[in-house]
């Protein structure tokens, strides 16, 4: 017998142990006409049975809506992503479909191609090097705990938060990522967000409101911030400013997985350097696309469609869900719906 079979058997057996003890009550027999409420209530809602997360990690995510895994992505990979980012900024590499965004304050200055001008790269699914982030097995094994075995990469981003020029435009207002997505159910979607350097409150770390993933999607729009706010940086219209929040100080390679309804944002970059992170939203290919007409997502849908029509030249043909399906890529398992 070979060692790979031994490893496979051990993995199967460990999978059998991955479930916490059931309560030691003894249930009454139920008749065939009993309602589903007679079932044992589900203990877990936001994570799937798996043999990757410890029970404590699983409970933490269920309760808080996020989970930080230390030192998940290697320095070598991060260096490669940095190098590719710089090549894209210098326009040495021009992947089709990529979206390059500039800070609203810096964009008013003279144009010159440089990584100092770029605040964000999105939709890098056609860039082989950056898309490698979405295929890293160490990322996908955690993603599978939230999405199940059939995994789509929905939206990749590399964030290059510029030093704030005094107008505070480097802030990202508190928001829920589900605002941007027509995919449901939300519990089968997760964001993986990896620090590409040390990130803390000085250079603008993620700030999360723990437990807010249990709530609903709130209306979003541009906040009325003096000095302006970057394009598509919508924020929640009404939220309790006194909600407890957690600032996620992260080292290079640390990765946070978080639920698309988790309220989060990021603060100003008060340093002179740029702050980089790379992220991807993953969803199960079992997810469905919904029509967002008449919902609070209609405003972002309009902006996304306008941008896509401008970029791809489809005039009046595209709708919000098409813009997302067009960019999604299967990264593991089988493509089913989206």
């Amino acid at each position: 017998m070979n060692l790979t079979r031994a490893g496979a058997r051990l993995q199967v057996l460990l999978g059998h142990l991955g479930r916490p003890s059931a309560p030691t009550i003894v249930a009454q027999p139920v008749s065939g006409l009993a309602s589903p409420a007679s079932f044992q209530p589900e203990q877990f809602q936001y994570t799937l049975d798996n043999n990757v997360l410890t029970l404590e990690q699983r409970k933490f995510y269920e309760e808080n809506g996020f989970l930080v895994i230390k030192n998940l992505v290697s320095d070598d990979d991060i260096q490669r992503f940095r190098a590719e980012f710089e090549r894209i900024c210098r326009e040495e590499v021009k992947p089709p479909g990529i979206v390059i965004m500039r800070d609203v304050a810096l964009a008013k200055q003279d144009y010159m191609p440089s990584d100092r001008m770029v605040s964000k790269i999105q939709d890098f699914q056609e860039d082989e090097e950056l898309f490698r982030y979405c295929l890293l097995p160490e990322i996908l094994k955690y993603v599978e705990c939230f999405t199940g075995p059939n995994i789509m990469a929905l939206h990749g981003m590399l964030i290059n938060k510029p030093p704030d020029v005094g107008k505070k435009t480097s802030r990202h207002p508190l928001h829920q990522d589900l605002h941007y997505f027509p995919f449901r159910p939300s519990n089968l979607i997760v964001c993986a967000w990896t620090a590409m350097e040390h990130i803390d409150r000085n250079n603008g770390c993620l700030v999360v409101l723990p437990g807010t993933h249990k709530g609903t999607l709130k209306p979003h729009d541009y906040p009325k911030w003096e000095g302006g706010v970057n394009k598509m940086y919508h924020g929640i219209q009404d939220y309790d400013p006194n909600s407890p929040r957690v600032h996620l100080v992260m080292e290079k390679g640390d990765t946070v997985f978080f639920h698309p309804l988790l309220i989060h944002g990021s603060g100003r970059n008060k340093t002179q350097g740029f702050r980089k992170a790379i992220s991807c939203h993953f969803g199960s290919s079992d997810c469905q696309c919904i029509d967002v007409s008449g919902t609070s997502q209609e405003n972002i849908a309009r902006e996304v469609v306008e941008m896509a029509e401008k970029k791809y030249g489809f005039q009046g043909v595209m709708d919000f869900k098409d813009t997302w399906i067009f960019r999604s890529r299967l990264v593991k398992g089988e493509r089913i719906n989206i």
Partner: protein, 318 residues
């Protein structure tokens, strides 16, 4: 419970135990070295006598043995299945074996069962390669292969009532009912939201099947209406590895688990847990109820022991 008759088999971890349908007091046990993760396997054929459990015959195989089933037309013949994807036919009347090896599955075979309906002599096997195969033991190749499960298969059991009908339980969280004559699945039941490791048919109701799963629950399914279970039994604290309905009492069943216990249940009682037997110190994987004695039970465990005993709940009419 009277003292269990115990046999210790050093270096072998018990995976399955089956009473002979012919010879009172004869028991077969499929076991594996190194907890079945690697190493070889052994089929042990035991006899009970006044001094306890004795080894009548022992056969070795070069990979772990995970299940065993007795022939229904020859008191000396058994079939085992193993980690290398093969099934083996043994004859206890011969000192060495096997008589035949059936090699078609491409991964571990975790389940083997000989049909009890006696209208035909068929064996069904379930494998981690996600297929079920049906065999005529006198023929070297499988008669039929059944596909549809989307994960490893842990258990395949013939209906004791309907010829050619069997149930399968899988890591894809479904219980499926198949008909050999149609080659297709007849019923798919998403019975649990976790892997299902075992299933068994009620001996007195041809429509009732029980499943035991990683979520520590047993669920009873009426195949005429599978929208929800007709009973659910809770109490185990780890995955349920095997479940068997009693041959003598319509609503009595037994289950064994990674929680080291064997539990006895009567699903028609307001308090269905009859007894918890805690005489093992490792995962308990093999379990069978005797056809000759209404009270006798055999089990085996990764603690290297095989036990035969009479639980109190079966000796005292409940």
């Amino acid at each position: 419970m009277s003292a269990a008759r115990t046999l210790r088999v050093p270096g072998r971890h018990g995976y399955a135990a089956e009473f002979s349908p012919y010879l009172p007091g004869r028991l077969a046990c499929a076991a594996a070295q190194h907890y079945g993760i690697a190493g070889c396997g052994t089929l042990l054929v035991l006899d009970q006598n006044e001094s306890g459990l004795q080894i009548f015959r022992s056969f070795d195989w070069n990979d772990g043995l995970f299940d065993v089933t007795w022939s229904e037309n020859n008191e000396h013949v058994l079939v085992t299945c193993s980690g290398d994807g093969s099934l083996q036919l043994w004859d206890t009347a011969k000192a060495t074996g096997p008589l035949q090896v059936y090699k078609e599955h491409t991964q571990e075979v975790y389940s083997v069962d000989w049909s009890q309906t006696r209208g035909e002599q068929l064996v069904v096997s379930g494998s981690w390669d996600q297929t079920v195969k049906v065999w005529d033991p006198t023929v070297g190749n499988s008669l039929c292969t059944f596909r549809g499960h989307e994960s490893v298969i842990y258990s395949t059991i013939w209906s004791p009532h309907i010829p050619g009908c069997f149930a399968s339980a899988s890591g894809d969280q479904t219980l499926r009912i198949w008909d050999v004559k149609t080659t297709g699945v007849r019923i798919v039941i998403p019975a649990h939201q976790t892997e299902i490791l075992s299933c068994d048919w009620c001996k007195y109701n041809e429509n009732l099947v029980v499943t035991g799963a990683v979520d520590c629950s047993l669920r009873g399914w009426d195949l005429r209406n599978v929208r929800q279970p007709v009973f659910e039994l809770l109490g185990h604290t780890y995955a349920i590895r095997r479940v068997k309905f009693s041959p003598f009492h319509a609503s009595v069943l037994a289950s064994c688990s990674y929680d080291f216990t064997v539990r006895f249940w009567n699903f028609s009682k307001p308090d269905p847990l009859l007894e918890t037997v805690e005489h093992h110190t490792e995962f308990t994987c093999g379990l069978d109820l005797s056809l000759q004695s209404p009270t006798q039970v055999a089990d085996c465990s990764w603690d290297e022991t095989i036990k035969i005993y009479d639980p109190v709940c079966l000796t005292v009419p409940g």
